[in-house]
Symmetry: C2
Subunit: 561 residues, 2 copies
């Protein structure tokens, strides 16, 4: 089986990354000399910034009424109701740039008033009952990885707000081998879920960059999409059944392979971002552990040729499981940043020059499955790649990508230490609109973040493809404006949101809405007259009559219609 190896994603899946309140993991990479010179050459002077330790964080006094606290202790036990400063500070926001900047400054002013750690689905229902009655806001909390403000501890006018941390609901409950389904509690993190499934010879195969910390429940309620979406599909397509605890009762949607029994209410829970209720169980599609895992890298000769390749593969197949195309800028940046990666850069440059390729676009292909299936798909995809004059860079470069697939989040902390604004955003549209969307968003970011005539570095990749279109994922690196970092990004994000809406694209392909997109989500949700938003408000009004669930997320501020 020389075409096949077992390295790649599977090998990395049980990492305990030892996150702290300001860092993604216990360790951070150093910035290589080449990366440092790229950044200063492009961005000018950078002002290093050191994060404040959690022990020095400013945490406001908890507003949780004593009577409510007592009710919660009675229902959950004292060890499940935490209101110490450190627990609360650790639940102050997620992983958006603004969240990180606030915490790095030692600012935990937006910490929840308490952190609840229920151990059972019944305890989750108890929390919703107690908090509904007392009108205390509840922010459901999975892996804490939201990059769109989905975890902001807003009260929505309530007297206090608690984080409902689901990390004790972390079990694989059952496996149906014949039907290839598995039922989980929502708080299980992906590495633990994969480890539990691996004991059954199974795998979920949902691999977003947040893999190490994100929870399965979080994936479901935010409509996540992983790096293997080309083969495995979105999380939307993997959910067969679920249970949702709401303040007015439980919604139990059984695991069905397909149905026409009315609207699929699972799809109403997916994307609800904790505003309708709290997931307590989810049944997902699983697959056998792959016999064969194979990554490879290619260079497409240009962004447009790369688009055409992505489209042809998405429309006519067969598809790899992982399919990514970086634009020339992202390709250039990532070759410099990856430093120790397996891409032998000088050799590659020579190889590409010989082929007259001046702005190569990195393509990553990943295949997982049976030997037979992988062999067939590789051969067919190779045929298409060669037809578009893409150049093979080999398995070592592909494996290097797979090995470093989670490294971006660690590197980001290093960049922030070095005074770099580092943030990402993403969208999707149809193939016919993709080039205009790419141009519009890139232009908006470059204009908004230019300083002293220097544009930021803006890279982009396509990593989720469909027959009808694809996502665009932008990575932005700019010189942070010391003390004004949040305003600086807020303005750029607003410009990007406006460009996305103007292009008729979706405001989020897989990061969800949270607070970052709520004011730009109208077109996605049924038009600017607000009919679709009114539908969601009607559902919320029924399920959460006290309005305690994750206030301020998903839906725009209510205005008189």
């Amino acid at each position: 089986m020389s075409h096949c190896s077992t390295m790649g994603a599977s090998a990395d899946r049980s990492i305990d990354n030892g996150a702290t309140w300001t860092s993604w993991g216990a360790t951070q990479p150093e910035l290589s000399a080449s990366a440092r010179s790229l950044l200063t050459a492009a961005l000018g002077e950078l002002t290093p910034q050191r994060p404040v330790a959690i022990t020095a964080a400013t945490v406001p006094v908890s507003r949780l009424p004593a009577a409510v606290r007592a009710d919660l202790v009675t229902a959950l036990g004292a060890d499940a109701v935490l209101d110490d400063d450190a627990s609360r500070a650790r639940h102050a926001g997620g992983q958006a740039y603004a969240d990180l900047i606030r915490r790095r400054r030692g600012d935990a002013s937006d910490a929840p008033d308490a952190v609840l750690l229920p151990s059972t689905a019944a305890a989750v229902s108890d929390v919703l009952r107690i908090c509904s009655t007392a009108r205390i806001a509840v922010v459901p909390w999975g892996g804490g990885t939201s990059v769109v403000g989905g975890l902001a501890a807003q009260t929505g006018g309530a007297a206090a707000v608690v984080a409902l941390d689901l990390s004790r609901l972390d079990q694989l409950l059952s496996v149906d081998h014949l039907s290839r389904t598995a039922t989980f509690q929502p708080g299980i993190r992906t590495p633990a879920a994969e480890a539990a499934l691996a004991a059954h010879g199974l795998s979920l195969g949902h691999v977003p960059q947040s893999f190490e910390r994100a929870s399965l429940g979080g994936y479901v309620v935010t409509r996540s999409s992983g790096q293997s979406s080309s083969g495995r599909g979105r999380m939307d397509d993997m959910v067969l059944g679920l249970r949702l605890a709401t303040p007015v009762g439980e919604l139990v949607l059984p695991a069905m392979p397909g149905s026409a029994a009315g609207p699929d209410l699972r799809r109403l829970v997916m994307g609800s971002e904790g505003t309708f209720g709290v997931l307590t169980e989810v049944t997902l599609r699983v697959r056998p552990l792959p016999e064969c895992v194979r990554y490879e890298a290619w260079a497409a000769p240009a962004w447009e040729a790369g688009h055409r390749l992505m489209r042809r593969i998405a429309q006519d197949g067969p598809r790899p499981d992982v399919l990514r195309l970086s634009d020339p800028e992202e390709t250039r940046i990532s070759l410099v940043m990856s430093g120790t990666a397996g891409l032998k850069r000088r050799a590659m440059d020579a190889w590409l020059r010989a082929r007259n390729v001046t702005a190569p676009c990195l393509v990553i292909l990943g295949f997982e499955g049976s030997d037979r299936d992988v062999r067939y798909r590789r051969r067919e995809v190779r045929r298409l790649m060669l037809a578009e004059r893409a150049a093979p860079l080999g398995a070592a470069a592909g494996n290097s990508w797979a090995h470093h697939r989670f490294s971006g989040a660690y590197l980001r902390d290093t960049l922030l230490d070095n005074g770099v604004l580092a943030e990402t955003l993403e969208t999707a549209t149809t193939w016919s609109q993709l080039a205009a969307l790419y141009a519009g968003v890139g232009e908006a970011l470059r204009t908004a973040l230019a300083r002293d005539g220097r544009p930021p570095l803006v890279g982009c990749h396509i990593s989720h493809v469909y027959p009808a279109g694809a996502s665009l994922y932008f990575t932005v690196l700019a010189a942070a404006d010391p003390g004004r970092e949040i305003d600086q990004w807020t303005a750029a994000k607003a410009a990007a949101n406006a460009a996305i809406v103007a292009a008729g694209a979706t405001i989020s392909h897989h990061h969800a809405v949270g607070t970052a997109h709520r004011d730009a989500v109208a077109a996605d949700l049924g038009g600017t007259d607000g009919t679709g938003i009114a539908v969601l408000r009607a559902v919320k009004g029924l399920l959460d009559p006290a309005g305690i669930l994750n206030p301020g997320k998903l839906l725009p501020e209510e205005q008189s219609r």
Copy 2:
């Protein structure tokens, strides 16, 4: 290209079947001598029944208030507001057994009070506005093919009820070649839609048995699934965008390849069965016309081996586009009924006996795509078939199936003429529950329809597969109880519904809810405490505050919670 032919579904797609108010098409097959002897041997004496002509039908006086009629004429034009007896009688119900029996008796007592034929989306909105204000019930009408009572002209307490016939909204509006999408008006029938797409070299490929008469809008709001679902997916997966006119405004959901911008409201419209609004546009995925179309028949040695085959193909692929497995009874019945079909029965019997197969199960495989793709999939599927000791019956038998794929509905009229109760029902569940579901529903039908110790004929097939499970489609033939036909089937249907619910399966895989399943849909929609049903009622309350849209469908009668 000897492995390939262009016959099959595509050739049959432009049929104008000349339906009448009691017959599916202009012509009906004769019952062959062998079919007649099978039926009388199994079912005993049959009492032939002749349908009453529409000119002799009993149609009640229209209750539509003159003022409302005048408003509708002003908005739509006189030629778009029909209240003559024939127009109304033709809109009395759909294609359920009870609907056919009533019409065959000349009973149009459940005809709508008028038939409206809007030509524009704006006219649809006008109808909803006028009827909301006047509190007149509206039954959206596409192809008239509902088999679950979805078109019953119930008033829901209103003074009158109109059928909103969308057949003048029958255009292909636009095609996006690069993104492989097409935008249609909802009333276009499938043959016309395929003809319009074929002019662009494209095809939809949604081929349910109702293909000749059903409308695209109907498919969307009932979550249809066609015979090619194994390759093309359900209608759910083909919808990218839509516009829904509601009494309170329009819901415009743009065509997006994938999104995490809140819950997917398209999925709330799909399955709403005209109770939330009226579809005025839908954007669907389309594909190039296939280069190669190939059907073939096989015999699986037993039902269990056939299950295993279906499951292995669904889970590990590659998949054919059409994948069907008939149980021994359906195989036996269809071989007799098909009469002139290409299956050379005696030769086949000898072939199977030589292989010790006593209860063969017919398997149909259909492949459509590029030569290259079809060749690969055929070879891989063949390998699996042979591994399960299935016997190839050849391309002629497969082509015969494809040629007769729409014939069941015509044959049914002949069976009814001959005094046979002929009806179908379907469900789906996970692979691990499929055998129990099959046994339970079969037993319920045989018990409920036994007469004088003779059980009915009950055949079953699997025709929609998923990695997690499959559908079961039952066909029932019994001696009709003259004059009591509707009660006879109602009792059997109730028994089947109860068996489906007891097995934890879905009450409908692709026929929808209508009136036939509304009292058995609770478990599918979120549990017996009614949380999910309350969610749908909240949405309906918002979008249809006057409660005029398709009363009595989808949702159970409201009870105090």
